[in-house]
Structures are given as structure tokens and as C-alpha cells.
């Protein structure tokens, strides 16, 4: 879905430390909010699935008391369904339990019903029924490297899943472990981190062990991906065989976000933070940076953003929509959410003082805006 018409509207989903907020808009300026849904549970992952002629919002929910689960809504949050037997749980014999669902990734338009999930402990899951039931990916779970993967500050998780259009190449990023690639649709996996530094390890260029914070695929160039690393911003043009730095021109190479354009080759966005030891926007000035040439040059975008901001933007707290021009959205740990309807040239604050924003997703959906309920 690319271009807006009168029978389409926008949905913005904001997962926070204490619940989910949903908003709809006709023009990406005026937003009508509902929430909090799932009050007192964190919502670290959201997938908006617009395939199959319906809008399904899937959320990874986690209560400190009552544990994690996946729920979905087909009516923009008026009601939520949690499959009775649980959408995502480790099979018997693994002696593992899902701690947190970090990623919900609807697959390509050509594979309706297929949804991937990334979770903590480090694991990848696949659903073929629209996110109602996920199967553990055994190839990655049984990988001989498993015992050597580590935990970043936020926990040990598979947080990024990227599937190419034909479905044979799957890239997963985990913290810590780095990028793993499958060439057979997810059956077998190999690390692919050549060129990505792990300065925090004795050998700074290991085969695996990198702390990749987010990866995203170029919209139009097959085999090209971008990575925001724990220090370092990289691009690969050969399905992760080789990574090269594209950090030159950015004010800092630390950060969590990596977004790519829904259609245009070479366009990606990052939100730099100063450093591992100083996780604030450089000089306390929040800015998004966009490249339109696959990382050769970067443009600073801060129109409409606050003069002073000391909160970080987390890896999934940013999203693009599929409209023309593309919308760019992100939220801070200070509970502010910013939206741009012009690819980041200008932003407007659309929500303030929410709990820490963990996940933001936006989509163009069929139908006029609906006043969403306040359920869950």
C-alpha cells in the first residue's frame, strides 16, 4: 500500500513501559488517541499487519507479575484476543520460558499470514496464521554458538528480523551475538559480522558476539542492509558477507534506531546518541539523521524537535509508514512522540509525558479513522 486516498487513514501505535496507546489520523497532523490499553504492562513489540484485507494489530505484552504474551486486535483496539493456549511458548524439552517478546514482524505482502517474532531468551519464531500461534525456529535455537551469546543491558534477545522478498534469505540480529543469516528460509544459520566491530571484546573483530542494535533492509536494492551497532553504523551490499562503516558524517556512531524507506533505494534514518557511556542526544540536542545515498552523506533533521532533550530513543521506538511521502515517527524514554509527514524534514510532537516509549509502529490502513475503544 503506497499512496493515500480518501478511504485510507493512518494508525500510530505506541508501546510504553506501562501500556499501549493507539492513535488514528486522516492527515498525520490531527491524531485521535485511545489508551492506555494493557495498563501496567509493558508493550515492547508491535506489528501492524495490513495484509489480507484487514488491519490486525499484534502486541507483545509483558507484565512484571504475570509474564509475557501476544495479543491481537482486528478492530483497532476496541477488543483484544489472547489465544487460549498462548501464541508463543517454548516447547517441552527446551526447559526455557519466554521472558519478553522483542519483535513482531509481518512478512511480505506475498506471504499473508506469515509473521515472525523475536524473543528473549534469544529465539526466533514463525507464525503462519497471522500471529495466533508461533513455532520456535529450531535451527537458531539449537545453534552451537548459543552458549556463547550474551546479554546486553536490556536482556538477551533476537530483536531484528529481516526477510527478503523471495523469502529464502533471513537476517536476524541479536544482542549480543550479532547478525545471523539463513539462506534457506530459516532452516540453518551462520554468523555474518565481517567488518562490524565488537570493541568491548578481547578480539574486536570476532566471528560473532557483536552488539548489533538494529538492522533494516534497503527498500529497493536486494542484498543491501543497514545496521546501527553498539558504536558503529554499517551497510552491507552483499547480504551481510561484508559490512562497511557509513558512520562518517554523523555526530555520533552510537544509537539504537535504524529505519529504511518503504520504497526508495538508499534512504535510511538513524537517531544518534552520544556514546555508550553517555546515552543522550549529542550536546543534549535531539536530531534524526537521514541518508538518501546509502550512507555516503547524512542530513541532520531537527525541525520541530525540542531544543533540549536528554532522553534516549530505543531500538524499536521508531517507525516509518508506507505513504508518499513516507511518515517518520519516534518516541523517547521521556514519553514524547514525534511524527513527520515529510520524511523527517519537519516533526510535530503528537504525544507527551507518556511512560517510557519502547515501541512505535505506524501504518496506512483501509477505511476512515475509527474512534478506537479503550479496552484491555
Amino acid at each position: 500500500m503506497g499512496f493515500m486516498n480518501a478511504s485510507e487513514s493512518f494508525v500510530l501505535a505506541i508501546g510504553t513501559k506501562k501500556g499501549l496507546w493507539l492513535a488514528t489520523s486522516q492527515d498525520r497532523k490531527q491524531w485521535s488517541f485511545s489508551g492506555p490499553h494493557f495498563l501496567m504492562s509493558e508493550v515492547p513489540s508491535i506489528g501492524i499487519d495490513t495484509r489480507d484485507g484487514r488491519t490486525r494489530i499484534m502486541v507483545g505484552v509483558r507484565s512484571e507479575h504475570w509474564g509475557p504474551y501476544v495479543a491481537h486486535s482486528d478492530d483497532l483496539g476496541a477488543s483484544w484476543t489472547e489465544p487460549e493456549q498462548g501464541a508463543i511458548k517454548f516447547p517441552e524439552g527446551t526447559d526455557a520460558a519466554v521472558e519478553r517478546i522483542w519483535q513482531i514482524y509481518p512478512d511480505a505482502e506475498s506471504r499473508p499470514g506469515v509473521v515472525w517474532a523475536g524473543a528473549e531468551p534469544i529465539s526466533v519464531w514463525k507464525s503462519t496464521d497471522g500471529g495466533e500461534h508461533f513455532e520456535l525456529n529450531r535451527g537458531l535455537w539449537d545453534h552451537p554458538h548459543r552458549s556463547e551469546w550474551g546479554a546486553g543491558y536490556g536482556g538477551a534477545a533476537a530483536h531484528s528480523i529481516v526477510v527478503n522478498p523471495s523469502g529464502d534469505k533471513v537476517h536476524v540480529a541479536m544482542s549480543t551475538g550479532g547478525v545471523y543469516r539463513s539462506l534457506d528460509g530459516g532452516t540453518s544459520w551462520e554468523p555474518r559480522n565481517k567488518g562490524i566491530s565488537a570493541y568491548f571484546m578481547p578480539d574486536p573483530n570476532p566471528e560473532f558476539g557483536q552488539c548489533v542494535h538494529k538492522i533494516a533492509a534497503d527498500a529497493a536494492v536486494e542484498g543491501r542492509l543497514y545496521a546501527q551497532n553498539h558504536h558503529g553504523v554499517y551497510r552491507t551490499d552483499d547480504n551481510a558477507e561484508n559490512w562497511e562503516s557509513i558512520a562518517e558524517g554523523l555526530p555520533a556512531d552510537f544509537g539504537f534506531v535504524m529505519l529504511t524507506h518503504p520504497r526508495r533505494a538508499g534512504t535510511a534514518w538513524v537517531v544518534p546518541l552520544k556514546a555508550d557511556g553517555e546515552r543522550i542526544p549529542p550536546d543534549g540536542k535531539l536530531a534524526v539523521h537521514r541518508t538518501d545515498d546509502a550512507g555516503s552523506t547524512w542530513k541532520r533533521l531537527d525541525s520541530g524537535l525540542p531544543q533540549s532533550e536528554f532522553n534516549a530513543v530505543l531500538r524499536d521506538a521508531a517507525s516509518v509508514d508506507s505513504a508518499e511521502p513516507a511518515g517518520v515517527y519516534f518516541g523517547t524514554r521521556g514519553g514524547a512522540v514525534y511524527a513527520s509527514a515529510d520524511e523527517g524534514e519537519t516533526f510535530a510532537e503528537v504525544a507527551s509525558h507518556l511512560p517510557d516509549v519502547l515501541c512505535v509502529r505506524a501504518a496506512v490502513v483501509a477505511g476512515a479513522p475509527v474512534a478506537a475503544g479503550t479496552g484491555a
Binding site: 512484571e64 507479575h65 504475570w66 509474564g67 498462548g86 526447559d95 520460558a97 519466554v98
Partner: protein, 95 residues
């Protein structure tokens, strides 16, 4: 036959059809684990809120038998006698 009652916190009651107390018949002592199997058997979502898929009690779910938290006793192996009441209470956690 005597019964054992399990008292749910209000936040979990919607997952048990709105009931605040679940009961199961018992003519002798049963373990807390068996008791949970029994009273949550028809409420699988409720069961998952209390225990993860390995069967372990979730970290911030406290179960009291005779006023004692079961982790101080024998955990899910703690025995409950017919006629007793078991309390499920969420611990003070979170920010």
C-alpha cells in the same frame, strides 16, 4: 467431600470467568502444583499468568498456605489439606 479454595486477586478474576474463589474437591492433601493444575485446568490463560511454560511459579506471584508464602515452604510441592484456603497475591514489584 471437602474442598480446597484458591482466592484470586481482583486483577486475575476476569481470567476465571469473574470468580474470586476457585474450589476443587479434595479428600486429602494435595500439592500446590496439583491444586493449580486442577483449578486452572479450564482457564489456560489464568494458568499462564501464574506459571511459565516450564511449570515454574512466576517470580512475582506469591502463593500463601496457612499464611506462609510457599517459597518458604516446599514451593509447588507444598501440601495443602482439605478445607484449607490458598491465597494468590502479586508481590510488591515494578516501578
Amino acid at each position: 467431600m471437602a474442598e480446597i479454595s484458591v482466592v484470586l486477586p481482583s486483577v486475575l478474576q476476569p481470567l476465571a470467568g469473574g470468580q474470586s474463589v476457585l474450589t476443587t474437591p479434595a479428600d486429602g492433601a494435595v500439592t500446590v502444583g496439583r491444586l493449580l493444575d486442577s483449578v486452572t485446568g479450564t482457564y489456560p490463560v489464568l494458568a499462564r499468568r501464574l506459571r511459565d511454560e516450564t511449570g515454574a511459579l512466576r517470580r512475582y506471584v506469591n502463593i500463601y498456605v496457612n499464611g506462609e508464602e510457599v517459597r518458604r515452604l516446599r514451593g509447588l510441592e507444598t501440601e495443602v489439606s482439605a478445607g484449607q484456603e490458598v491465597l494468590i497475591i502479586q508481590s510488591v514489584a515494578g516501578g
